[in-house]
């Protein structure tokens, strides 16, 4: 093999680096998760962070890891799914006997859920987003005993849409992903008309 001089070695190294970089960019375009040249799922427009309720395990990190205080993640209520239960397991602590609005009986640590009478025996539960910290405690109760109509979602008017979402980085369930800004909610259940 012919011995290379320094100039030839440098030229080869630069060419190799450029070729490698080009290969990496091409590979990223072709096989990128969530959008590639192959699956026609490229998000061409702006994107925002969102969490998938079907993956969420209510670990509490949405409340503690967001750069905003309180968190931009809020509990949202899918009213079309809700059973309007008298004994709402997302509202009342387990074992509560007298079903009234005493703060000590509520699951929510900041009393962000409002309970109002509809007709016997139905009650409506609405979320006060100015109080909600996105801890997911009510979501856990509703999902375990009820039908999961309480779900956590990133509320985009409140979210800074950080390049690297601090919650997404720390989410143990991998529930966060970027979604098209034109369709920014990932609620499970019936339709998307209830936020």
């Amino acid at each position: 093999m012919e011995k290379q001089n320094r100039r030839q070695f440098l030229r080869l190294a630069i060419r190799g680096t450029l070729f490698g970089g080009l290969a990496l960019i091409t590979g990223d375009l072709l096989f990128r998760k969530g959008g590639s040249l192959f699956n026609n799922n490229i998000m061409s427009g702006p994107t925002v962070w969102q969490l998938d309720p079907s993956k969420c395990i209510q670990c509490g990190r949405c409340a503690t890891n967001c750069v905003k205080t309180p968190s931009a993640v809020k509990c949202t209520h899918a009213f079309s799914m809700c059973g309007y239960c008298n004994l709402c397991s997302g509202y009342f602590k387990p074992g509560t006997k007298n079903l009234d609005t005493g703060a000590e009986k509520q699951v929510c640590p900041v009393n962000a859920i409002k309970r109002s009478y509809v007709e016997d025996p139905f009650f409506e539960y609405t979320i006060d987003e100015s109080l909600c910290i996105g801890c997911g405690k009510c979501v856990k109760g509703c999902g375990a005993f009820g039908n999961g109509s309480l779900q956590l979602q990133v509320r985009h008017p409140l979210c800074d849409n950080c390049n690297e979402c601090s919650i997404a980085r720390n989410c143990p369930a991998g529930a966060f992903s970027r979604v098209p800004a034109s369709d920014p909610y990932l609620l499970k259940g019936f339709g998307k008309d209830r936020v």
């Binding site: 209510q58 670990c59 509490g60 409340a63 503690t64 809700c82 059973g83 309007y84 239960c85 008298n86 004994l87 709402c88 397991s89 009342f92 387990p94 074992g95 699951v107 640590p109 025996p121 801890c135 997911g136 405690k137 856990k140 109760g141 375990a144 005993f145 009820g146 039908n147 980085r169 720390n170 989410c171 143990p172 991998g174």
Partner: protein
């Protein structure tokens, strides 16, 4: 020599650094730390009493997603699920398999071994040889059939979507809607917040329905009148743990109730007047979050439990009869 060692050491360090970066980038997942907003499910799932039953080896059906279990007149066990029904004997040996498209959400068996199978919005009858006898028309576009029960004269169909129990002839003619809210007859109506809505016929021939939003089991007469009810919401062992419970129930041959719950997954036995008698299996017997523990009982008192999480038919035997 010194230079070679230095190069080797540098290379090892470089590779270790690249390895750590790659692991951190692609594999690293933060550990679950203590949740300051924990709901407390772990404490709720702690068993308060010792079960009066022990578990035998489960049956593992080949169906992809099992949903329902029933016992037949000859002691056969029928398991329904995604794509069909499988029949087993007491020993767990597969006797027969019926295949069809769609998910069978519930099953009951007539005395002549005709299978009554609830699909999502309609009912189908099959004989034990795997031939479809009839397929009834869909009830409603919003129907979600969650349970069927049969006696010598009628078939009862629980529809969680419509929140009503339908009474049919064995030939599929609808005769009545049972459980509609009617203050003049003291019928409060069914509250069904989630798709768990079970019906069963007691050994005495009575129709019982699980009104899960009221945490009660209700008995209805032939004319649709509400005759009796029992049940209280409670996280403790005597009651039903809140909304949507009991998710399923069945009867032992002597008329005792067997109930199952979601949230705090447990199977329990109650007297005919609703007094808690025994724990069959506590939450530690099931994966957290298991829903839809459908039940059946055999003539010798075994309790069969569908476990959708593990896709197994779990079998529980009374301790003294094991």
């Amino acid at each position: 020599m010194k230079k070679t060692i230095l190069i080797v050491l540098s290379l090892i360090l470089l590779f270790a650094l690249i390895g750590w970066m790659l692991f951190d980038l692609f594999m690293g997942r933060p550990e679950l730390e203590k949740n300051p907003y924990d709901f407390g499910m772990k404490k709720l799932r702690e068993t308060q009493i010792i079960p009066a039953y022990s578990e035998a080896l489960p049956i593992k059906p080949a169906l992809k997603k099992i949903t329902s279990v029933a016992t037949g007149p000859e002691g056969k066990i029928f398991v329904a699920g995604d794509g069909g029904v499988e029949t087993f004997d007491f020993g767990g040996h597969l006797l027969n398999r019926i295949s069809f498209p769609g998910i069978a959400t519930c099953i009951a068996v007539m005395n002549n071994n005709i299978l009554v199978i609830g699909m999502e919005d309609h009912v189908e009858l099959w004989n034990s040889s795997g031939i479809q006898v009839s397929s009834w028309k869909a009830i409603d576009t919003s129907s979600v059939i969650t349970s069927v029960a049969v006696n010598k004269q009628f078939i009862y169909v629980a529809d969680a979507g419509e929140k009503i129990v339908y009474k049919y002839t064995l030939q599929g003619k609808m005769l009545a809607r049972i459980g509609e809210k009617d203050p003049s007859r003291n019928i409060p109506g069914f509250i069904i917040p989630s798709p768990f809505f079970d019906v069963a016929i007691s050994p005495a021939g009575d129709l019982w329905v699980a009104n899960t939003g009221r945490y009660k089991l209700e008995k209805y007469g032939n004319d649709g009148s509400l005759l009796a009810s029992w049940g209280e919401p409670s996280a403790s062992i005597e009651g039903f743990a809140g909304c949507c419970n009991p998710s399923n129930f069945t009867f032992l041959p002597d008329g005792l109730f067997v109930t199952s719950e979601k949230g705090i997954e447990r199977v329990k036995i109650y007297s005919q007047d609703g007094k808690f008698l025994a724990l069959v299996a506590g939450p530690e017997a099931f994966d957290e979050g298991t829903h839809g523990l459908d039940l059946a009982a055999t003539a010798n008192g075994w309790i069969l439990v569908i476990d959708p999480s593990r896709n197994q038919l779990r079998i529980f035997l009374p301790l003294e009869k094991k």
